[in-house]
């Protein structure tokens, strides 16, 4: 009688065990949301050249970001390079124009971790609204990207 632990019969017994092990692991599906929904009804009420910053805030709420040139940093950069005694800076008022950004981000993830094969997929899209203002604080344009519907 063959009593060696690695004989064929013992190895055959391990096949179901290995098959089971190949299936061990996990599968995950995730949805991650970030930011508030953009109020589309309110977006329709915005009129170019008429609606003011205050009205936009009232209609759409607090923006996620207000983009504006950092005047302090701009001044500091100019000062750092200047070696004279007096420095006069003339700043274009256009630099003070603001952009309000509203964004609702969604990330879909799907992963499979098994014994030999791992697969991870993630897709991040966002509904993004940007409202551009002129120097008088009136809307000059709105950009709307409904990115989440691509998911």
């Amino acid at each position: 009688m063959n009593t060696h632990p690695l004989n064929l019969r013992n190895l055959l017994k391990l096949i179901p065990l290995f098959s089971l092990a190949l299936l061990t692991g996990c599968v995950g599906i995730g949805r991650n949301y970030e930011g508030n929904d953009v109020l589309l009804d309110a977006l329709a009420k915005i009129e170019k050249g008429k609606t003011t910053r205050a009205e936009v805030l009232e209609l759409l709420g607090a923006p996620l970001r207000v983009d504006k040139v950092n005047i302090t940093a701009l001044t500091e950069q100019s000062l750092a390079r200047y070696e004279g005694e007096k420095l006069t800076l003339q700043i274009d008022p256009a630099l003070f124009d603001e952009i309000y950004v509203y964004e609702r981000k969604q990330t879909n993830t799907f992963f499979v971790f098994t014994f030999l094969f791992n697969y991870y997929r993630s897709d991040e899209r966002s509904d993004r609204l940007a409202v551009f203002f002129d120097r008088d604080g009136k809307v000059i344009g709105t950009g709307w990207t409904p990115g989440r519907k691509e998911l």
Binding site: S122, R128, G141
Partner: protein, 155 residues
């Protein structure tokens, strides 16, 4: 189940329990890993083709391309940037640190074991990008488009 069969089954599990437990905790350690990561909203060449220098306005850009992801203010105008990034990975090998990291809450041992790995990997990252320069008269001064994701290696 008779006593003999029961004994055989019991012996089988006794002999293989350790092996089975090892196999159970091995996922992620010896592996083929594929990652597909995409970030950003789609930019279609058709929508970019509508925009022309010295003809299209800020409104046209916003209407066709939507809200940009980056902005830069300059004294002579505005630069709008749209981008979508994609990252594809295929890795083959052994990574003990990854296995330990699942149970190592403080990440102490997994960081020590980070060097104990053999990984052969293919990585590809690229992006579709549009840059639009808009003058203070709100007319497009220039536009550049680069579509690269479709040609990105998928391994």
């Amino acid at each position: 189940m008779d006593a003999r069969t029961q004994g055989t089954v019991s012996l089988f599990f006794q002999r293989n329990t350790a092996l089975f437990l090892c196999l159970l905790f091995l996922p992620g350690c010896i592996s083929v890993t594929m990652i597909r990561h995409r970030r950003g909203n789609e930019i279609t060449p058709e929508k970019v083709a509508v925009i022309h220098s010295a003809e299209s306005t800020l409104d046209d850009v916003l209407e066709n391309l939507g809200a940009p992801i980056e902005y830069q203010r300059h004294t002579d105008g505005l630069i709008l940037v749209y981008r979508t990034r994609a990252h594809n990975v295929a890795e083959y090998g052994i990574d003990v640190g990854r296995l330990v990291s699942w149970t190592d809450q403080g990440q102490t041992y997994s960081s020590l074991l980070n060097n104990l790995k053999f990984i052969y990997g293919n990585y590809a990252t690229d992006e579709d990008r549009v840059v639009v320069i808009i003058g203070n008269d709100q007319l497009v001064k220039g536009i550049a488009y680069r579509g690269a994701i479709n040609d990105l290696q998928k391994f």
